[in-house]
Amino acid sequence: MTLLRDATVVLRRQVRLNLRNPAWVLLGVAQPILYLVLFAPLLGPIADQIGVENAYTFFVPGLVVQMGLFGALYVGFNLLAEWREGVVEAERVTPASRGALLLGRLGRDVLQLGIQCLILVGAGYVMGMDAPVAGALAGVGIALLLGAAGSALSNAVALRTRSEEVMAPLVNVVTMPVLLLSGILLPMTLGPGWLRTVSDVMPVRHVVDAVRDVFSGTPSAPTVGLGVGVTCAMLVAGLTVGVLAFRREDA
């Protein structure tokens, strides 16, 4: 299938470029590791009060989602740099499908996020996280689907705005409420009723719940189903706007 073939060509080029500068992979994982080392220990003493047995088993899944989504939301800056160099336009004058130009880049992002998630989960085990390996891998899988959605959205926004100055505050405006309302740092069940209601309409909260559930080793079908469903819906929406952005203005 030419779509997959072309996407592979794009993916290989992107991975090659990333490998020329592997420091970015480590920089991307630095922030979650800092959270893990400097914030998670604060949760230890209050674990009982917030209703969790092991602070790390609670906290690592949230960080995995945070990295999957937030890491992905910044990839648009990459695309803007490519756009300024004329690469996006040069690829658009080839007969390659517009979807392949997006998919190849998503592939790179998922690959990179996957490596970062595995580093993070490994660090979690070192700190004393208690989670079955299969559950942890499933959780990473869900986070990566969410990451693909975020990356597609970020690429679309980059091609739409074509401006770093517009994009930077936009990404911030999105990430702050997501971080606060998704229960990444603390369980939303601690909050008052109104805060819980607000967080209920925050799609990412259900993804965090699902990932946390599979990490626990005793997943419940409704929680996981809702989380995976929300993730897939976001992925479809992201891919749609992403492909449209690459097609825009085409003759």
Binding site: V9, E85, G86, A90, V93, P95, A96, E249, D250, A251
Partner: protein
Amino acid sequence: MIQTRDLRMSFDSGRGRRRRTVEAVRGIDLDIGRGEIVGLLGPNGAGKTTTLRILSTLLRPTSGEVLVCGRDVRADPREVRRRLGYVSQGGSTSRRARAGDEATDRGMLYGLTRRAARTRARDLFDRLDLGDLWDRPAGSLSGGQRRRLEIATALVHDPELVVLDEPTTGLDPQSRANLWDHIRDLRASRGATVLVTTHYLDEADALSDRLVVVDHGSVVATGTSEDLKADLDDDVLTVRLADPADAGRAALCAGAATGDVFTPGDGVVTGPLRAGSGGLAVVVRELDRHDVAVAGLDVRRPTLDDVFLTLTGRSLRDAA
């Protein structure tokens, strides 16, 4: 190879109350045959790049018919893309990527196998004097090398039609002349049709069989550069004066002698030398009679710059 009828393109620019429609292309008709090298000449903002982007399927025209390589760019963009090589003004390679990889990857996006793409790219590197730069990051190449690399990446799929947008802008004179040779070679060795935009007159003159002069989004003249110059059949006479203060008086004398308008300049007067007006001798005699001392004379054939001035009322250099 290229046929457009009443091609139009307008953009909305600005927002809210300042929103207005900019007509970048206002009814351009082009007919370019196989194997031609055609120069699209005009000042910045004349609509050259917009026209090229429409031909390359990057922009959807507002209206008009556009056939490229026998295919409608709107109905069949993919077939057009297969046959066309586009060298954009702003570059097409990533600073960080290796030169050889960029060319190979681009070829693979055109459907070539990796082996075929690499073979083609190697061949083009040799032709374009990029032979030993294969492993170098594109960002480390000189301006001329980078431009040749971008031409190579646009040619890996052996296109029938090559479209280049101001390929020599920002290059030193030596690199420009070198690039002209390579552009001419596209047709000589591969039979490609070439459309190249430029706002350099010498470039248009040196490169193309035929020129299409555009200004404000429409075609103002077409023809060979000789044709265009022949339309201005008057030679241009410049008289250098021993005393710059004589300029006004000298212009009147020369005008009276030839019946044409002579313009006084900085120590010179310039005007047309019409065939059959008695020419040079009359002017000199008239100046002598009025005791205007002449320091030198220069008669030259009109240049494309004069053509452009006549067609648009402004100099190409001022406009650019």
